[in-house]
Symmetry: C2
């Protein structure tokens, strides 16, 4: 008997494919939808003035009554950062592990929606029945504790979503990935695997977090003055290792940077970070201690202009100064696009006379949280899925991950290299491409969610390149004369005092143009405006090879 | 007898220290000035709308009659790109090797100043007497042929400027660096060494250009369809190796990208590039050949949005398409800041189905043109200078190069870590810091040279973030009423159609504010304008958390 058309498994992404960030994957069987993650993305360079980017969730809003849950794999921004926006549209239950929910709570509180949200705690042994879908978990290693992979048991078979993972054989918290459970899942048979592609370009194995602890400890051993460590706030393992080194070398720690303070507090409160009483002191206290008893744990590992480290490097931090001879550890690698900011911060620190340990992978003070090629192949081998969908990565990473899957024996036709919105329909063990789901970037600018679109961005781009020229003129149409103006006001175009002649000539040109048109009885505003724009645009381009935005304002009395 | 105060050696940089780009170093003895290089720099991210940056040469203009020459070390943009601007200010003789002058000529021709320029050809055996200074040269290896180091014999002793260099023991053109000459120069005694710091962060040795040829040849051997190679136009050695591989595998070449066509022509004409007759064909010809006989040599190795490779990747090139199965070699590494552009191009190429060879150092299809730490130490050992000034690099590179110099035995107090404009005065064998020379960035925007300064850039930045709001209103002050307006026009702020309410409310607020002020008899334009700006700014920030530029235009009738 043929099944109802609805009784098929749908797999697609609302975000996370062809990009790093805004991860959001959807598994739907008939009328049951489970969403994995709700992340944000930081804006691309050309998204001028934009603060954040989240996925367009129209599909979920339209199918509100079918969405059973959002499952969170871990507490990084690219997996949970969109949640507060999404929950305002569809208030569905959210499942996550302890640390993940701890971080989510603090976000939802800030967004004023914590009280109406439904957060449900799970662990790697939980099983949740969500309509026809049964969800369970397995522990993975990542650069934040409490990260899990997700197993979704569907009537068509088992779908596995790895979350972000690496295989760390000597993890800092001794919490190995559930490799036995993974082996068991794979042995029972996996229909489809969705696996993290971030490091698909890297050969070999990613280093163990513990090796970073050893490098950091070595730096501590040699440091004679203050030690400043900058890292990602969410990397609690890394922070633990800084704490351990501080204990070993009898130093106290002060924490700077809002997110660092926040995560350390949550980490301690929930038992993920173990810090002896009295070890963390506030900034005023630390300034009273001798330099060789001080550690400053800080945000700013990406050289972010407003971060604590950048302010210290520029000597503009309100309370903390870096002195010649201090040691600064930048325990991170630059996220693509941030290389220049990090380099600038390193330069500023060197100028102050600090000893800077940077360039994570060479100096040993950083390892990635994502598995390299051998680990990706290990995961593929554990799961031995029938169908493979590389996720979480830019196109070339997904592509290289596909090649890895093929290399371990998955036939090319069973590998689906998708874009956001591309759907895979699986029915009776057969997979095929389904119809596309609408997807997109929702831009957050200040309080605005989605009110900045392509036109606004295009204007910002134009304004940023050559500025703007406003031409104001008051006309009397009755006697075809200019009553006042033209006045030309420019911003971001030329330095006015050095370009008086140019602007006077522009002024004269507008006057002549308007007078001529009025004599010819051309009176429609739009014609007058267009003529001013054309004439002035041409003149300015000839004279300067620039194309400022020209805004003619013609008043009539 | 004490020497005249003027009889001292001055060394400083007008550009190139604390930055990569706009190299310009000055050696002055009494009334004789020799300038080494006149480069440009590409704009930093925050220099919105700027095309190029050149050094401020006020010092040279003020001392015009003392400037004996500009000596060019090689033909890269960061060494010759500022020349056409500088020569317009001071038309002094320019000395360079054959290829360097070939490239300079084409630049000066474009700037319409070739005929009045004085270009003088030199080679590694030339000696030039310039007042009290005698200038000679030694060959170095670099990623462009005909690169030289400069020896300046002064009454105080010998100053050596390495130019950009590496030690390539198996160079493609068999032109080894003049290591014997370098040894001899060092043996005779060097007072001060200025040496390239670009790769001071890299351990070991930089690979030989010849190894790239082998990797490229291996890719050619495997390729079954078209091969597209993108590299820097100026890397003639690289281009020669692509030509050689094309000969070996019986492929014809077409050249795309304006600068690539230009440099290849100059390279062939001057005898630096050896291409068999009929090997290079035009685009229309190449499209008639079978795919396995085709090589496309292209610009765009930095993912530049308008380059030939990027256009091919986006399928918007007028004549050339990349097909699934074609092989693309990106024979370069991204310059810091370009990583994202390159990644985007690689992604687009993969999407088309091309086989992309990228990530230069891992895939072997690129090596740097600058020496790594062991080579820098070798240069230091050849020269054994009394004083050392690391040049050509961001601060951390100069700093690490200083450490290298110290490691080979140069005392710390003889190493000068300078900024642009810092001067070293050497007299009677003693060096000390002299007074600072004015330096700076001159921004080129279109035809404007230096007419864009901090205020214009700050406005562009503001405009790019949140756009602009122009408020136009006509008042009758006599009867304290608003005659027309307020009209609010916005660009780059919000999508107007979705923000009608906000703009209406803003409008009402301006009306109320102005009426109130006029009733209170506040009539000065500046007060009215400031009030509108303040009230509106506050309101919009409250409502949107954005701060658009607000431009009140108040007309009076």
């Amino acid at each position: 008997m043929p099944k109802n058309n609805k009784e098929r498994l749908l797999i697609f992404a609302l975000g996370g494919l062809g990009e790093i960030g805004k991860n959001m994957y959807v598994i739907q069987y008939a009328d049951d939808i489970v969403v994995v993650d709700a992340g944000l993305k930081f804006p691309e360079e050309e998204m001028l003035g934009i603060d954040l980017v989240i996925p367009d969730v129209s599909y979920l809003v339209e199918n509100k009554e079918k969405v059973r849950a959002i499952i969170l794999t871990h507490g990084h921004e690219d997996h949970i950062g969109g949640l507060s926006y999404v929950l305002k549209e569809i208030n569905v239950p959210v499942y996550g592990t302890k640390l993940t929910l701890g971080l989510v709570e603090s976000k939802l509180k800030e967004a004023n929606i914590l009280s109406e949200s439904k957060l449900i705690l799970v662990n790697n042994e939980s099983e949740i029945q969500l309509g026809a879908l049964k969800v369970s978990f397995f522990k993975v290693n990542h650069s934040i504790p409490d990260a899990v992979g997700v197993v979704i048991d569907t009537p068509e078979g088992v779908v596995v979503h790895t979350g972000d993972f690496k295989f760390d054989l000597t993890p800092v918290n001794n919490q190995m990935a559930d490799i036995h459970k993974m082996a068991e899942i794979g042995k029972k048979g996996v229909l489809a695997l969705l696996s993290d592609s971030t490091n698909a370009e890297r050969e070999g194995h990613t280093g163990s977090e513990r090796s970073v602890g050893e490098s950091i400890s070595e730096v501590f051993r040699k440091a004679k003055q203050r030690i400043i460590v900058a890292t990602f706030a969410s990397n609690i393992h890394r922070i633990q290792q800084v704490v351990d080194a501080s204990i070993a070398y009898d130093r106290k720690i002060t924490i700077v940077g809002r997110s660092m303070v926040n995560v350390v507090n949550i980490g301690i409160e929930l038992g993920y970070l173990h810090v002896p009483e009295g070890m963390i002191v506030d900034v005023d206290e630390i300034n009273k201690l001798p330099a060789d008893r001080v550690v400053i744990l800080s945000t700013g590992s990406q050289g972010e202009p407003m971060s604590a480290l950048t302010r210290m490097a520029r000597s503009t931090h309100r309370k903390l100064d870096i002195m010649p001879g201090d040691t600064v550890i930048i325990s991170a690698t630059p996220i693509p696009g941030n290389e220049k900011y990090v380099a600038r911060t390193v330069d500023q620190l060197f100028r102050i006379g600090a000893n800077v340990i940077y360039g994570g992978s060479i100096s040993g003070v950083h390892v990635s949280g994502h598995g390299s090629q051998e680990e990706l192949k290990l995961m593929l081998n554990f799961m031995r899925p029938k169908f493979f969908i590389p996720i979480h990565g830019e196109y070339r990473m997904l592509r290289l991950h596909s090649d890895l899957a093929e290399s371990i024996g998955i036939p090319r036709e069973n590998i689906f290299l998708l874009d956001n919105g591309d759907t895979i329909e699986i029915s009776n063990g057969k997979a095929r491409y389904g119809s596309k789901i609408p997807v997109g970037n929702v831009l957050i600018d200040g309080l605005g969610v989605g009110d900045v679109g392509n036109i606004v961005l295009r204007d910002r781009k134009l304004l940023s390149q050559d500025g703007i020229l406003v031409v104001v003129v008051t006309l009397s149409k009755q006697n075809a004369t200019i009553l006042s103006g033209p006045d030309i006001i420019s911003r971001g175009f030329v330095y006015v005092r050095e370009s008086e002649e140019l602007l006077e000539e522009a002024n004269r040109l507008v006057t002549v143009t308007l007078q001529k048109l009025m004599i010819e009885n051309v009176n429609e505003w739009s014609s007058l405006k267009n003529s001013v724009r054309d004439v002035l645009g041409r003149f300015l381009y000839e004279q300067t090879r620039r194309r400022p935005m020209i805004l003619p304002i013609i008043m009539e009395v």
